[in-house]
């Protein structure tokens, strides 16, 4: 047994390198970006302006309208993932562990997971060709109307990332001991009952985690929209989500000056939004999901 002070030193030795990297590349930029949002910089000088940037973001009719529009779109983007990606992911995980696919489980598992390994740019490009009204399969301009553009992009993203919840839930389902299921069979439970009454409650904590991870991913989303529609995503900003709104404010566009202060403000608001919701979710929901010792 090592004495306590030495133990702390050892502990520090193992933790410190990772901690340094984490602080330097994650914590510090995050804090400095939040700090930046309280300053107004022009030229070489910058002055502390308190919450003026936030007031501006929420009271300037232009930025305000764009922000709420982006937030609304982001909620839609998240809901489509939640309602399509997760149930299908769960279904596929259930099928993979049901024993009905027998030896082809590996093939299916690989096929379903492959899109998640592709680059977003490639996924966007492939889908853009598939649904292209000139030479694709669909004559309707799916990406060109305000009503269909965002759902179309969301479904492309769902198609790409469906393997992630599937693999999470698949491993969780694999961890359930066979004897629990066997016992239920002996008690007369069919597959349906066994899944919903026994398996699902056992994997509920993992399912909850997937829900919140999906929330974080979609609210940090940016790449697929940017790859397909650029940084002023049309038509009429109908595919603008918080990530692209941030990008446009912070980096500017070819004819627009980059506004670092406004960009940092938007970034801080997004961060806060994710932090608060995630914390609330863990406090209100995740804590109450029971984890069973098996």
């Amino acid at each position: 047994m090592i004495r306590t002070p030495a133990r702390y030193r050892l502990l520090a030795m193992f933790v410190l390198p990772a901690l340094l990297v984490y602080v330097a590349f994650s914590v510090y930029p995050l804090i400095s970006s939040v700090v930046l949002s309280f300053f107004e910089s022009s030229g070489q000088t910058s002055a502390f302006v308190g919450t003026a940037n936030y007031v501006d973001l929420f009271t300037n009719p232009t930025t305000n309208a764009r922000f709420w529009n982006a937030l609304g779109n982001n909620v839609e983007f998240f809901l489509i993932h939640l309602l399509v990606e997760l149930p299908i992911g769960l279904l596929m995980a259930a099928l993979l562990t049901s024993g009905r696919l027998r030896r082809s489980v590996g093939v299916y598992r690989t096929l379903l997971f492959i899109p998640a390994t592709l680059s977003v740019v490639i996924v966007g490009f492939i889908w853009r060709l598939i649904i292209n009204p000139l030479w694709g399969l669909v004559e309707f301009p799916l990406l060109g109307t305000e009503a269909t553009a965002l759902p179309t992009i969301s479904l492309m993203s769902v198609w790409q990332y469906i393997g992630i919840p599937m693999i999470f839930l698949y491993t969780a389902l694999l961890a359930i001991p066979d004897d629990v299921i066997e016992a239920s069979r002996i008690d007369g439970a069919g597959s349906w009952t066994a899944f919903w009454r026994i398996k699902f409650p056992l994997i509920a904590p993992q399912f909850g985690l997937i829900v919140i991870l999906t929330y974080i991913w979609t609210f940090n989303g940016f790449d697929i929209v940017y790859a397909l529609n650029g940084s002023a995503p049309g038509p009429n900003y109908s595919t603008d989500i918080l990530g692209t709104f941030f990008y446009r404010s912070f980096f500017g566009s070819s004819g627009q000056v980059a506004d670092l202060d406004l960009g940092a403000t938007v970034a801080s608001v997004i961060f806060l939004l994710i932090l608060v919701t995630t914390a609330a979710y863990f406090w209100l929901v995740q804590r109450r999901l029971k984890t069973y010792e098996l």
Partner: protein
Amino acid sequence: MMRSATAPLAALAVTTLALGLAGCAVGSGDDPDSVTLTLGTWRTEDATMWENDIIPAFEASHPGITVEYAPIDTNDYNAAIQSQIDGGTGPDVIMCRPFDVNRAWIDKGYFEPLDGLDAIGSFPESALAAWEGDDGTPYCVPVASVLAGFYYNAAIFDELGLEVPQTQEEFLEVLDAIKEDGQYAPLALGSADGWQLAYNMLYQVGPNAWKGEEGRLGLIDGTQRLTDPDFVEGFRIFDSFKGYLPNGFESISYEDMTQLFTLGKAAILPDGSWQISQVTSTGLDVGVFGAPPAAKGDQRYQQEMADMAFGLNAASTQKEAATEFLEWLGTSEFQQLYVNKLPGFFSMGGEPVKYDNALAQEFADLKEGAELTSRLALDRLSAGQPPLDDEIWRVAQLMYNSGLSPEEATAELQAGLDSWYTPAQ
């Protein structure tokens, strides 16, 4: 125990320090006689041309100066160059964005004023305007401009017995004829990319109605408004092309349009001169015409957009060599070399330049007899929220996709502009 526990930490610290120092050491020149200049640009696609042709030509006539081409991806250029300069690692010579972005950079003190340079004297005032400070001081040496035009497939025109239109009415008649024939899409144009509706259509056909620079400068000094009849008419002309777009145009992107034209499936492509090599890559016989005026003999207006220029980083340590380079950009030797290596980009210098590429020459000829005008909204009108240029992309899309009328469109744009832009009277 103590020693062994802290040793890895110390090692880590030393390594980090060493890496940091190594990072700093890279880049300092070792030969005192030779100077290395870095060129920061957004033209990643031109790297080979600069490295193989242009830079060697410069280095041959200026011994002792080595030039390093350092391109950054177009979309990241503004942000990347700003952070480089703010961090003190900016290139010696910086490619300048035109108008508002550059004006913001001038205000930030990025550039050295260039009023003493001989090269500046070889450019007309209209060429310098995009890169001047508020007091008229030049900060960048103009390199190239781009023109907008309507490419047409000569074979299709021959087959259908069509002629290049001389008036707006004739233009619509030509499009009607192609539409009636039914074999080809009249216009290779989609609205998925808002920028090209604005740059290649509205800013091309509109100036004939708002009289080019007169309208543009009128908006800037506040004597004209977008709701004035001239502007509404410009937007109406833009709107009159709506019926000639291919099916599903709402999601046809810029790349799709070019492809539709180069595959010979469309007769006319509204586009910029920078696409010359692209549209002729499949061996089509392509001609080009400018936006025709309302009636024969009316003044014609031609969009010429200042595109590239080079400025001198105020924090550069190689100012002498950089100045020599900038002087060289003003020579016709450079301009002749540049425009012929890069068809579709046009010299902005006062001296005439010969273009080897036939289509480039045809484009350059469009400038004759026409009054030149810049893109409508990039100068001052996009320096606030909402930027007029971005708004025009959006509204142009709405006009084609959702039937927004020219009156509604211009009223909406003017309202947006009024919310922040108060011209100095």
